[in-house]
Symmetry: D2
Subunit: 315 residues, 4 copies
């Protein structure tokens, strides 16, 4: 079983959790969804995150979802499991189950009640101790959601204190200078390297790659774009990468709308055949006729532009 490490790079797509129209789990669609991620060229995926509606699953559903995703993922395709939880007992329990089932690592965001950076450091010390030092951890830095602001220095300090914290999911905004500080401050004599994958819907992906990010970890519904952009960038073709990115940017920007974005993504994945229903569990947004027409238009406009930019279209 491979695990994430300090040099992990590429595209780890954030996976949706498929439901049937009546809200029941749709485990079969997990298979087709994983297949679509692999066909797109992703290096791995992250499951049970916010986009995966993890908080809306019953405990046994959560377990079933995790096992189905891990069972479908082929050898070498790494799966990170989101284990953020209000209590550390639940966090550790889910983390250990995930690793036993074959996960490549776990992702943890700070809980909203952490008030100071000292408390953030203490929280991760507890979490790492309870998980055990063999479990690789991705630190999710997403203050827009958690309300917890963490400085680059604190991220570097976490890296020094806990060899198992090997990855940063970068989603602070504005965050480009913070990314630069983490990149320059890690992989030095004093501080181990940190793999940096970027979230936030990919909205600033090309700038992030230019500043040293190792790839993307987000749920954009055409992940082949992210795969191609990251690859082109790694090949030194920054302009080509950004041309392709810009062709999709209108849709990227559209998906980034908080709350609504998830419904738009699931509808897009449904249209692409990756899942059977676009259902979002309650409480959640429902798309209006105007929303659907807008999405049609944005997808068609992108598809008309992408070939010229050298990109792949949906089959």
């Amino acid at each position: 079983m491979t695990q994430i490490d300090r040099h992990t790079a590429g595209v780890y797509v954030i996976a949706a959790t498929p439901f049937a129209d009546d809200g029941a789990l749709d485990l079969e669609s997990i298979d087709s969804l994983v297949d679509s991620y692999i066909a797109a060229g992703c290096d791995g995926m992250t499951i049970l995150g916010v986009m995966g509606e993890a908080m809306k699953l019953a405990a046994d559903e959560s377990r079933a979802v995790m096992r189905r995703f891990l069972a479908r993922a082929p050898k070498g395709f790494e799966t990170i499991v989101g284990v953020s939880a209000p209590g550390l007992d639940n966090l550790a329990r889910l983390g250990q189950e995930a690793m036993e089932a074959g996960a490549a690592g776990v992702m943890i965001a700070p809980i909203p009640s952490l008030a100071t950076e000292e408390q953030v450091l203490n929280y991760y010390a507890q979490a790492c101790a309870m998980l055990g030092e063999d479990v690789p951890v991705c630190f999710q830095d997403y203050p827009q959601l958690t309300g917890v602001k963490v400085s680059a220095d604190t991220i570097l300090e976490l890296t020094r204190r806990h060899p198992q914290i090997v990855m940063l999911k970068h989603e602070d905004c504005p965050g480009l200078n913070k990314l630069t500080r983490v990149r320059e401050g890690s992989g030095t004599e004093s501080t181990p390297r940190l793999s940096i994958l970027c979230g936030n819907g990919g909205l600033h992906l090309c700038q992030e790659l230019a500043r040293g990010a190792d790839g993307a970890m987000t749920g954009f519904a055409f992940p082949e774009m992210m795969v191609d952009v990251v690859r082109l960038h790694a090949e030194g073709k920054a302009d080509a990468a950004e041309d392709l990115f810009d062709a999709w940017l209108p849709l990227v920007r559209h998906e980034v709308q908080p709350g609504l974005g998830l419904a738009l993504r699931k509808e897009t994945l449904r249209r692409r055949g990756a899942i059977k229903s676009a259902k979002v569990r309650a409480p959640g947004p429902k798309l209006t006729a105007a929303d659907l027409a807008e999405l049609d238009r944005l997808i068609s406009r992108a598809e008309a532009r992408v070939p010229a930019a050298g990109g792949r279209l949906a089959a």
Copy 2:
């Protein structure tokens, strides 16, 4: 099985969830805790609330805690179950389990993402529909925690729309004038009566009773005080009620400290023999030597004052 209704009154104590020092569930202490609440004269209790660390329980623990509390509660001692959850499927499932196991009703706070009062109305419409109209609901109005501000008018509108919403847990602050508006606006020709029980640690209990509240729903660790205050008030002895309340107020005020308050309460319950350990699950505060000395002092000072005020002491 009795259920809460629009005329429910008295003291419904918010129950702690007992853990052993190592963090494991301590189901036996649930029995002694319930017994202590009954000995104090409480009319009922509310379990699996925030103070009950519900979010830190695994799903099977949650179920075990609920069943143990309900099994120990004698006939006529009503138990309300907190079922607030990020997803409505989980909320409805827990609510139905609770009612089948003998609960008197469920308590629901709005989820933090509800942005407008229209969204609050829609959320409760969905929740009520999914629970079924036979399940009595207590609306928890606690904006300090949820971030969701709800006007008196919206609370009255909920009361009109959903016959099953029979109770308000009032914890907004400042909230005395809001309580007055709900009291005066319900039990009218247009709007059914709403039972109003007050939370917030009981900090303003006498003022709330004077404005028409039906009782208290909070976790103060000497619930006999609340029972006596509510009873004296109902007997028309407002001054005696407030004298007794004021004798305890230094401790009430001390317990109201966010976060720390739970640790102080559990330590007090432990000293009183209601539970075996004061353990709060991680992440949570730990009491320092100075915290413990302060608590000693506040409890002794109260105990020196309470008999003169006509109140009961711990056995």
Copy 3:
């Protein structure tokens, strides 16, 4: 003096306030800035908003800035003055001064402490009464900044209650369906029409126009783009409008970064010769070498693309 009304349409650019490198007011640059807005084809401008660093001006500076902007604006070029303030006395005083000096209207955002929609309604009732009914008001709906969430129904109710509230600055996000509801609910038998101009950096401008917005009110540093997009859209050329918009979208998206965006805009305005210094008053962000290189790249890429999309470039 023309004033904004229920049919106002077009581009009302949000104006920066120019400072010298040492932080002193640069009144001369106000002249060149206004000239650049007029050259771009804007229909008006909004001054003393958040982007105008209004809160960082001394009272006499605020007055001097207002008078200079209004003095430079030619006949027919309408100026809206941001008058949001923690106290209504200051709000009304500034509003009256603005109208006397020739403003076309004032813009008011709800103060952060307004907890319920009823309180929002009361606040605007007080504000309108203190301003006087002759002062046209633009309601700024910007919950990301104010924390105050207002439903479409409340916006329509404000429109019915106060004939002087003639315009909505729409910046909620996600907000497209809210815009649709305000558009469809105003200009009806029961509710007067509301002019809707869109902010949020213009990030969703084409979708907003398609849903019935009357134009843009935001500070994108190439306002000619917004002018052309709004004009093309009005001419029924939605595809051409969106092609042009998309050519600039990478820069629009880059400017939308909270906090940093203002520094990027002022630097862009400086490069374009509209103001002499990119200085942002403390506390405020400073651009790093990497920030400047990124901006270079994004502007050059846009300039290479825009002519093909039928757009204008900086002279």
Copy 4:
């Protein structure tokens, strides 16, 4: 002119700003208010804070208020001026004016946009530099209002870096252990002593004194209580101090209600003859008949109890 320093102790009452019933400044009431504070035995006062409605004053009103307070304060009665402002230019300007007019120091709270403790350190470095190193600064730690959480370590670091930061206004909650950490960490070999005065309406005053606070800085409308409590505590009579405090606690607790508290305080000051009108500028709460009756009752109950507790009553 005396100034605050690292050993300042006692009661620095937070002063209200008096208005006439029509909302105009009432400068004469400033004189009677200052006289009442002196009669109560206060050691100093803090003006233009949140409770002073500073944000609702026009710039010239602000200046007039400051000059009137300073002119009335006798020699040795120290006045701290709140200078928190969104922009550092305004902050420094007001600070310098205050010192020139005879203030004993200035009080600064972090602005809400400071996201990390590193940014807090940078902000105070800028503020101190712009004020000049001769201006004594009180750091106001009030996260409930500012949203900025600052650890004890960061407060100590500020103390080391800036000799002019001599005082902490402690209002975090729960904050008793933080107070202990600041007390124990300052006045050491590495870190200069910090004067600690406590706010938050005085709700935890006796516990704070026991943990090493030097006094109180808050606006409780019977400041003689705070004066006596602090004095008794300094004389080693902790029990007598707390008995007196507890006699007033029901009113202290009542005044702590956010927002409403200011209206209650001004009404109390009016009844005591310290100011002529209880007017709070808009937007602000208005007391209902029920509010007034409640206040009557709480004041009479305290007055009946205080003599037995050895305290002073209003003349």
